[in-house]
Subunit: 69 residues, 6 copies
């Protein structure tokens, strides 16, 4: 499946924190560069995620803000 | 200023594409890892962005989806 | 590719309106039920969209609001 | 009240799952076509939602992504 | 129509900037406090907006970030 | 830090409701005008928020919808 979201960053799940409703998933997209995602537990189970699994962080460009010091 | 968004990824602007209303900004957050952001031209000018400038890609964790092959 | 977004609605592209930067795509997910999406022209071309093509409308459940009369 | 969101899909609540903080609401917008929404419990109560009630799934077009096989 | 979005701020349109595809609408919700919204031209026409008209700025609480100095 | 988000509304935290995973924060941006934000508990702690503290409600203009009666 190809998706219109501009950013599809390949990486590996390096940490997972399960909540009552949601799960926080850390995806390492480059050495030391982690992207945190919050998804529902249902989605977590649907994708059969686990630490060590290859996964993509998917982001719409319009949801990416820019900041400067 | 500190912000509640979970992901604040430090990088460098490596490409800019100006549109009539928006600007697409590519931020390299690690060698070969680029995050694309679409912001308004007004925001682009407010931040005085340009290729080579240090910038952060800022993302709410709830806006990051996860995908697997 | 499987994605964490909760809503993946299968349908067919029934109309397209190209803008300078974006494209508005109408996807019919059931007889008479259309979902409008605005994506970038780059995404439109990446997915090789056209009227009549099968496509999915993909939505995070947290981006779906509910209203009542 | 009229709203700027492009997609206002009329349907009926067919399932509800209450969480500690949020509620997942399934709205059937056409026979067999369900849209899942996650809203806060406060919003759920404000709208007096319940299975069988008429409701609209409201989506900004810019939050609808497109995918193809 | 009542909507699940947590923030429905009543105000008045004080400025409008029409673009090729979008319109930027400034809504004054209190003396000197303006909220900027970007909507499609189609939505702008659907709501028959104009400077001086009463309007609500509608925001999901999960789309409101918090920052501190 | 300057950010591309169009709306950066200065105010004061007037109420906080802690959940298992998230926190709802009410920011008064003008007398009687409150903006509700839902952020993660981790973000709440990172920003050391508390009732009475100065804070900004930060919103992308594209996440602000407009409604009329």
């Amino acid at each position: 499946m190809k998706i219109s979201a501009r950013n599809v960053l390949k990486g590996k799940v390096v940490a997972v924190e399960m909540g009552a409703v949601n799960a926080e998933v850390l995806i390492e997209v480059a050495p030391g560069i982690e992207v945190a995602s919050i998804i529902t537990k249902a989605a977590f189970e649907k994708l059969e995620l686990a630490v060590g699994k290859e996964a993509y962080a998917v982001l719409k460009a319009s949801n990416v803000m820019v900041a400067v010091d």
